[in-house]
């Protein structure tokens, strides 16, 4: 039986706080943790499948044009080679998040350097890899593909432009105004598990073990790519070795494995090499951002301008939503916002952790520091003075707003010095030491979600959904929500995820997973509670359950009388999405040291204070925050995709050349969880926390570099060469 709940109003019933089990929010270790630490958790490529052949993708070595011939014979005689697949259904790009349809297909048309064009299948991985290298391919090159986002006429992205008042006039009239341009480089998700798939056919039924974030969309995308019915497709992603946006949509190896397995009549595994993952999946677009801020004598904003240029391939709908939080974070009645997209032939641009704010916030929050300095106002105080009452563009009320608390609690916990801020106040040997801060903001997303909860006759519970856990903690928080609602120790709740045989979840992405699927489990559990309450002649809101018993001592097993009790919860966000502006908020504080002679920056300590609704598990929520802060360090100091200006190919396509933070780059990190209940965010009053931790953090580091050594930089990442060039004598 399905119970549907569409949320049109804030849910202030606060039911979860009235439950008796007392496990929600507690810092429980992950329920799948032992499997992970002992290496027994199976990821996509690791399922033992009989008679599995190995496939290796072949990628294009031209930027734009056509594959004119593939010389199969050049490899079919090599040992172990079974087939060369260049089926027109092969995908040439990964699907964008929530695309819900097949991505670009037709491998004969090449649109970017590194695009998959064929798959070589052999008995062993070594044989397939060797043959893929030896496959002779001929092309007809279409010269002149645009590669430089600054050299083409960009398109204006619909729905982003705001013209309000007269910003140009406000800039002239204001007591303090700044006009600065920031740039950010492209970024890679670089999830540790490379994209992988094992495809197996049973007649016309297809099963694929894949590494994907959103099976509810992925099944539609795969069925569409193969011209199949969804009912004939099963996707399994029980463990996903990181996603960060790169596994939102189906990627090339999933379709390639399915087509190959059909053609060769046996299971086929395709694992992308690390270099292929970098080149064929998704990049975060580089950005150029023009910021204009105008403030009165008191530092209150009267003008706010944020215009950004990003890029993508022709035919891609995604444009890095740089301005997402700029629309509502600060006031200022004169506003100019615009997002433009340059169409160029670099690899596909798409979602990388916190698309939009990940790069928009570091630019905005850097500019706010420039303004604070110019106006002579403490940077924390400047932000406190500019928190708007309501959404400054839409006029909507905020669902909840914890920015002020985060700024204050964060400053206290960090020991923020509110005195006059001047660069170069502290020197230790070769090193300048300084501090900086920034606000955090990330829009709250929520999605329709379904989950089945079964209270078993033996007094345990089972939660089933095709939702994934990509390291976010889904397994554990769902056990906690069900345990809280049904009066069970989470150890007695079995959570089964990542299988399209289960009800459709929301998928993991956009930080919406926990609030969405958690609400579906909540709805299902509430319906089960109603049944149980009826059995003992009380009402659901009076039913107290704890450790498998009611308040009057009846055990769940007795109430169930040997029968399972199952309900499918179907949560759907309604008017709450339109009636409020909803966002997570926070504040970052960083202390850095900068070497006067080498320009090297080291982060000494960093703190984030975040308000994101109800905390479902204090341990996993904190981990999401420190993960985000770690990404902030990478974004600020080291991460940059570099493209060859001649052919647009990604030059640093591996983990030696693309520099994600390593152990020694990351100090001990402090996190302050600012508890709140956001009743308009979801029925469980939770928002997401997977991305907020990196939405602005890089600016805290950039601002600390300025405070430390006086080098004001406008280009991320702030590598030693750039810091040295900006370093005053």
């Amino acid at each position: 039986m399905t119970v549907h709940f569409k949320q049109d109003e804030p849910d202030n019933s606060n039911r979860l706080d009235g439950m008796k089990q007392g496990v929600l929010g507690k810092p429980l270790p992950r329920i799948e943790g032992l499997a992970k630490v002992t290496g027994t958790a199976p990821y996509a490529a690791e399922y033992p499948v009989e008679n599995c052949a190995e496939g290796v993708l072949v990628t294009a070595t031209i930027t734009r044009g056509e594959v004119t011939s593939i010389d199969r014979e050049s490899v079919l005689s090599m040992p172990g080679v079974i087939a060369v697949i260049d089926d027109e259904k092969l995908c040439t790009r990964a699907a964008q998040g929530t695309a819900n349809e097949a991505p670009m297909q037709g491998p004969a048309q090449v649109c970017y350097w590194g695009q998959p064009i064929a798959l070589v299948v052999a008995e062993t991985f070594e044989q397939a890899r060797d043959a893929a290298k030896h496959l002779n391919v001929e092309y007809r090159v279409e010269e002149g593909a645009p590669l430089d986002p600054g050299a083409v006429e960009p398109e204006e992205q619909e729905g982003e432009t705001v013209h309000q008042g007269d910003l140009a006039h406000a800039m002239v009239e204001a007591a303090h105004s700044i006009d600065v341009t920031y740039t950010t480089k492209g970024h890679a998700s670089a999830a540790m598990e490379p994209h992988a798939a094992i495809a197996e056919w049973d007649g016309d039924k297809l099963t694929v073990h894949a590494s994907l974030q959103m099976l509810n969309y992925n099944i539609t995308e795969l069925a569409d790519a193969l011209d199949m019915e969804e009912d004939d497709v099963r996707l399994i992603s029980r463990y996903v070795g990181g996603g960060f946006g790169s596994k939102l949509g189906i990627s090339e190896e999933v379709v390639a494995a399915a087509l190959a397995a059909k053609q060769v009549g046996r299971p086929v595994r395709v694992v992308q090499s690390r270099q292929q993952v970098f080149q064929t999946v998704m990049r975060r677009s580089e950005t150029t951002q023009h910021l204009r801020l105008a403030a009165d004598d008191n530092g209150k904003l009267v003008g706010f301008g944020h215009e950004a240029l990003v890029s993508n391939l022709p035919g891609e709908s995604f444009a890095e939503p740089v301005l997402q939080s700029s629309h509502f974070l600060y006031g200022g009645e004169n506003r100019e916002l615009m997002l433009k997209v340059a169409r160029i032939h670099r690899m596909t641009a798409g979602s990388v952790r916190a698309p939009g704010e990940a790069v928009g916030m570091p630019a905005l929050e850097g500019a706010m520091d420039v303004l604070a300095k110019k106006a002579g106002i403490d940077p924390v105080e400047l932000r406190l003075r500019n928190i708007p009452e309501d959404d400054p563009e839409e006029g909507l009320q905020f669902s909840s707003h914890k920015l002020a608390e985060c700024l204050k609690q964060g400053a206290d916990a960090f020991g923020w010095d509110k005195g006059l801020r001047k660069p170069r106040q502290r020197r230790e040997g070769e090193w300048w030491v300084g501090t900086g801060m920034a606000s955090a903001a990330r829009v709250h997303n929520i999605s329709e979600a379904k989950a089945r909860v079964t209270l078993k006759a033996d007094g345990t519970a089972l939660v089933e959904t095709d939702m994934t856990d990509i390291g976010t903690g889904t397994y554990t928080i769902l056990a906690q929500i069900a345990g809280e609602m049904l009066g069970l120790d989470p150890k007695r709740v079995l959570v089964e995820l990542g299988d399209t045989r289960h009800p459709r979840g929301p998928g993991s992405g956009g930080s919406w997973g926990a609030a969405s699927i958690g609400s579906a489990v909540y709805v299902a559990c509430k319906a089960i509670r109603e049944e149980l309450a009826a059995k003992i002649g009380t009402s659901e809101d009076k039913l107290e359950l704890n450790e498998g018993k009611t308040a009057t001592g009846e055990s769940l097993t007795d109430l169930l009388e040997g029968k399972d009790l199952a309900r499918e919860g179907h949560y759907e966000p309604g008017d709450i999405e339109d009636d409020y502006t909803a966002s997570g908020f926070g504040a970052f504080f960083a202390e850095v040291r900068v070497n006067h002679y080498t320009g090297e920056t080291r982060v000494e300590r960093m703190l984030g204070a975040f308000g994101f609704g109800r905390v479902l598990n204090a341990k996993t929520a904190r981990s999401q925050c420190i993960g985000g802060i770690t990404w902030s360090i990478g974004l600020a100091l080291t991460e940059a995709l570099e493209f060859d200006p001649r052919d647009g190919h990604l030059v640093n396509c591996d983990l030696a050349e693309y520099h994600v933070p390593v152990h020694r780059d990351v100090p001990d990190l402090d996190v302050v969880l600012v508890e709140e209940r956001d009743a308009a965010a979801s029925p469980i009053q939770a928002k997401g926390i997977g991305e907020l931790g990196m939405c602005g953090g890089a600016a805290a580091i950039a601002n600390a570099i300025y405070n430390a050594c006086g080098a004001r930089l406008y280009d991320y990442p702030m590598t030693p060469d750039r810091v040295l060039a900006a370093m005053p004598d």
Partner: protein, 178 residues
């Protein structure tokens, strides 16, 4: 094997977690792919296949190496310990328990490599092998957060669990400090 017309006898087994396995025929098989594909020990992870991420770290004769950077055929007679050999869900090692308690992971994919690496790393400190973070090249090496971070920097974690991983290792090392 036959070499220049003569039968050449090589020691042809690798011992993994105390079980002996024959070395594969194809000399191109890396130790990593041997573990994962040939003998089904998939706890050891492939993250980059180029020695850049540390996800494939295993112990060979007690010393940590990237198993993707060495061929199975080079390990005649060697003793290999993988994550499966360090502990099991029923009987996890102290480091495995500490990673669980401190949430020293998120997606879990780099985790076996982190734990294998940390296991050997603590032995290296105990044996006074110096690192970039050490005060001197000779003499006693003192365990510190900085020593641990330096020595673990070959093991990438994209989820960004570093702070928790270091806390887990310090917990096991005892007496350590950040």
């Amino acid at each position: 094997m036959v070499l220049q017309g003569q039968e050449v006898r090589l020691a042809d087994t690798i011992t993994v977690n105390e079980t002996a396995y024959p070395i594969p025929d194809d000399p191109r098989v890396s130790l990593l792919d041997f573990l994962r594909q040939h003998i089904g020990l998939t706890g050891t992870k492939k993250g980059c296949d180029h020695g850049q991420c540390g996800a494939c770290t295993v112990l060979v004769n007690g010393v940590r190496i990237n198993s993707c950077l060495t061929l199975a055929a080079m390990h005649d007679g060697d003793d290999v310990t993988t994550i499966e050999g360090l502990g099991t869900p029923e009987k996890p090692s102290a480091l495995q328990r500490a990673f669980l308690e401190h949430d020293g992971y998120q997606c879990g994919y780099c985790t076996p490599g982190q734990i294998c690496s940390a296991t050997a790393m603590l032995e290296e400190i105990a044996a006074d092998w110096p690192s970039d973070a050490s005060e001197a090249l000779n003499g006693k090496v003192r365990i510190s957060g900085e020593e641990i971070r330096e020595r673990m920097s070959g093991n990438l974690c994209r989820c960004g669990a570093y702070a928790n991983i270091v806390a887990a290792i310090e917990d096991v090392a005892g007496g350590g400090q950040s």
